[in-house]
Amino acid sequence: MGFLGKGLFQGMAVTARNFVGTYFDRGTREKLVTYQYPEEKPPLPENSRSFPFLVYDGTPDAMRCVACKICETECPPQCIYIVMDRDEKGKPQQRPKVFDIDISVCMQCQICVEVCPFEAIKMDNDYEKSQYGRFDDLIEHLPDLLKSNEYYNEIKPTEAKAVDAKLKAEAEKKAKKGTSKPAAAAPAKPAAPAPAPKPATAPAGKITIPEDAPFTAEQRAWLAGFLSAGGVATSGTGVSPVAVAETTGETPVPLPEATPAAEAPAGGWPWHDPGLGMSQRMDLVKAAPLADKLMAAMAQTDCHACGYDCRGYADAIAAGSETDLSLCLPGEAETAKKLEELMKEAGKL
């Protein structure tokens, strides 16, 4: 039966139920939903993430990071700073001496994790990072960043298990092969850690206009002509075959007058782009001197894992002053193999 003010009393009953319910909640959080934060913490979902940390196996000395600096390069806000460790003689140690992350800048994008070929950096879920200072206190140094693999397994069991299984499989494969690669460089990831997006609409070296593009037949023909002419013109200048390669997704046939390897200044190497596959890079340097070919085979991150920059390593190999061909860590097996091949081709091995 309805009467004036019935809803008011129904409402009072609801609030009374909730009021009394809070005293009998007993931790179910149905009626008393608050987490009293510093004392109680809500469980975090496994995929939650805060800032990156560095994983080590066993002892902090056995960190997985080899200071390849890929993450430093790729970090969008550039908040990672890495200095490679060297012994007294100046030989690189394949481990960072300084590894800083400025967490006031880090945007928690996880890109460093995605690009690391060594499963060395992972996202933490510890969000209690408040500090009293605005500047130095918010920079995490190597000791702060190092956390054990057990910790990783604890906070993200599923993900960590997959990583462990992968690392184990790789270690077994390597043990079978018996290669003499450095111990730390276990995983066999593609040489290009951050593949540049390949244009989807460009098969077979020609710019095609999508079927559904709103053009008449005439316009279509003109556009096709214009675009291919543009492509030729670009590579014809000898400035950027890569640009063409990128737009077409395939290496253009190097025009006779466009042999960039011959005249491009050192350091301005157009294929200095880890986004290109090995075979594409090789095609680009078909006519180039050996040192350039070697350079093209490097992972080209200038990570200094080998003790040189990429250019310097290539030159040293070509000059014969460096005989170890397996020093390029980011390039991994692919680069080592290619270097060997190239040296054999050149008759120097």
Partner: protein
């Protein structure tokens, strides 16, 4: 006051004559200034905790165990806050308004009896005094709103005036019924009148049909008069920021708050006195400790009224301005006028049991009719095209 004077006059034989009188005056003042603000302080805490529980959270529980030092922390914070006065404000009025807001609220306690014979001032026109004083608080609200030179403050002040004036009418008329039944304007006499009928509790006015209606009318009026939810449109933060105290900060703001809560508590005290039998309750005639038991009953009832207030605040939504006015003039006013007539009927009917039934029937019928009329004026139910 008189009771205290009689009590202690004998102890001061040979001392100057004014001494017992001074003490008899000072004690109630200290009591009012000391005890009721303490009740206010803890009302705010209880209110925040209760509202928290209603909303499935804890409420303040960090300052001291169970948050019992929270009022202190609040006071300290408000005291140390910067006092901001708008540049174009009428400085003197702006300063005066919060002070004036507190004074009537404190004065209201003068006529609230807390034990037999124990009332700060036994005025023979107690109820009249209460209404005269409580209406003065609207002056403070309007001063504050006007002096701030802020359109939201002014809007809030206008609303406050309209609301208090409207609700004053049914409230006074509801009190008239009580005064008629008790035959006196003195609060002490009104409490005594409720002992009639042999049974202690059955005599309370709230258990008579007209008394119950009067209680509801008076409680609604009291809520509106102290501008508490659901009648807090003078300070409706979603519409006019904070109404008349938008431009107040620091301790002036605290004074407004204090005045508002004290008024609410005093009104609750007057409601208890008029309808819930005041300090009446089992055991008040026991020699020596009877007075304390009476005070206990009074404060217990007062606490219940305050809790009811809080409960209502935690539940009901704020009424719209037009609903607010319509409710006062179209429902409360006819009801309260009818109530006065019914009290007269009650008074002249000898058989009280029969009188109980007849008056209940009349009032019930009137309520149903009023409900029908007011429901007829409602806007028809809105249908939403896309919400299923």
């Amino acid at each position: 006051m008189e009771t205290i004077y009689q009590l202690i006059a004998g102890w001061f034989a040979g001392k100057p004559e004014w001494l017992p009188l001074a003490i008899a005056i000072a004690v109630p003042i200290l009591f009012i200034v000391g005890v009721y603000p303490a009740i206010f302080a803890y009302t705010t805490l209880v209110e925040r905790k209760a509202l928290g529980r209603v909303q499935n959270r804890y409420g303040p529980n960090r300052v001291g165990r169970w948050g019992i030092l929270q009022p202190l922390a609040d006071g300290l914070k408000l005291l140390t806050k910067e006092d901001i006065v708008p540049r174009d404000a009428d400085k003197f009025t702006h300063f005066l308004a919060p002070v004036i807001a507190v004074i009537p609220s404190v004065l209201l306690f003068a006529i609230v009896p807390i034990a037999p014979g124990l009332v700060p001032v036994n005025l023979n026109i107690g109820i009249l005094f209460a209404f005269a004083i409580s209406t003065a608080s609207v002056l403070a609200l309007f001063m504050g709103g006007w002096a701030s030179r802020n359109k939201f403050s002014l809007l809030g002040a206008m609303r406050a005036v309209a609301q208090v004036v409207s609700y004053e009418v049914p409230m006074v008329l509801a009190a008239v019924a009580v005064v008629m039944a008790a035959g006196s304007l003195s609060t002490l006499d009104i409490v005594k009148a409720q002992t009639r009928g042999g049974l202690e509790i059955a005599g309370w006015f709230v258990f008579q049909p007209w008394g119950f209606v009067g209680f509801v009318l008076f409680a609604i009026g009291a809520m509106a008069e102290s501008a508490r939810t659901p009648f807090d449109i003078p300070e409706a933060e979603s519409e006019i920021i904070a109404g008349y105290h938008t431009e107040y900060s620091g301790f002036k703001f605290a004074l407004f708050q204090l005045g508002e809560y004290l008024a609410a508590i005093a009104m609750a005290g007057i409601t208890v006195t008029m309808f819930l039998g005041g300090y009446l309750g089992p055991g008040i005639h026991i020699p020596y400790i009877g007075g304390f038991i009476a005070a206990f009953w009074f404060f217990l009832k007062l606490g219940c009224m305050i809790l009811l207030n809080i409960w209502i605040r935690g539940t009901w939504p704020r009424v719209r301005v037009d609903q607010l006015m319509g409710f006062a003039w179209k429902v409360l006013l006819p009801m309260s006028i009818l109530n006065i007539a019914v009290v007269g009927l009650w008074h002249f009917m000898g058989n009280k049991v029969l009188a109980w039934g007849v008056t209940a029937a009349i009032l019930g019928l009137a309520f149903v009719i009023l409900a029908k009329i007011s429901a007829a004026g409602n806007i028809e139910k809105r249908t939403y095209r896309y919400a299923n």
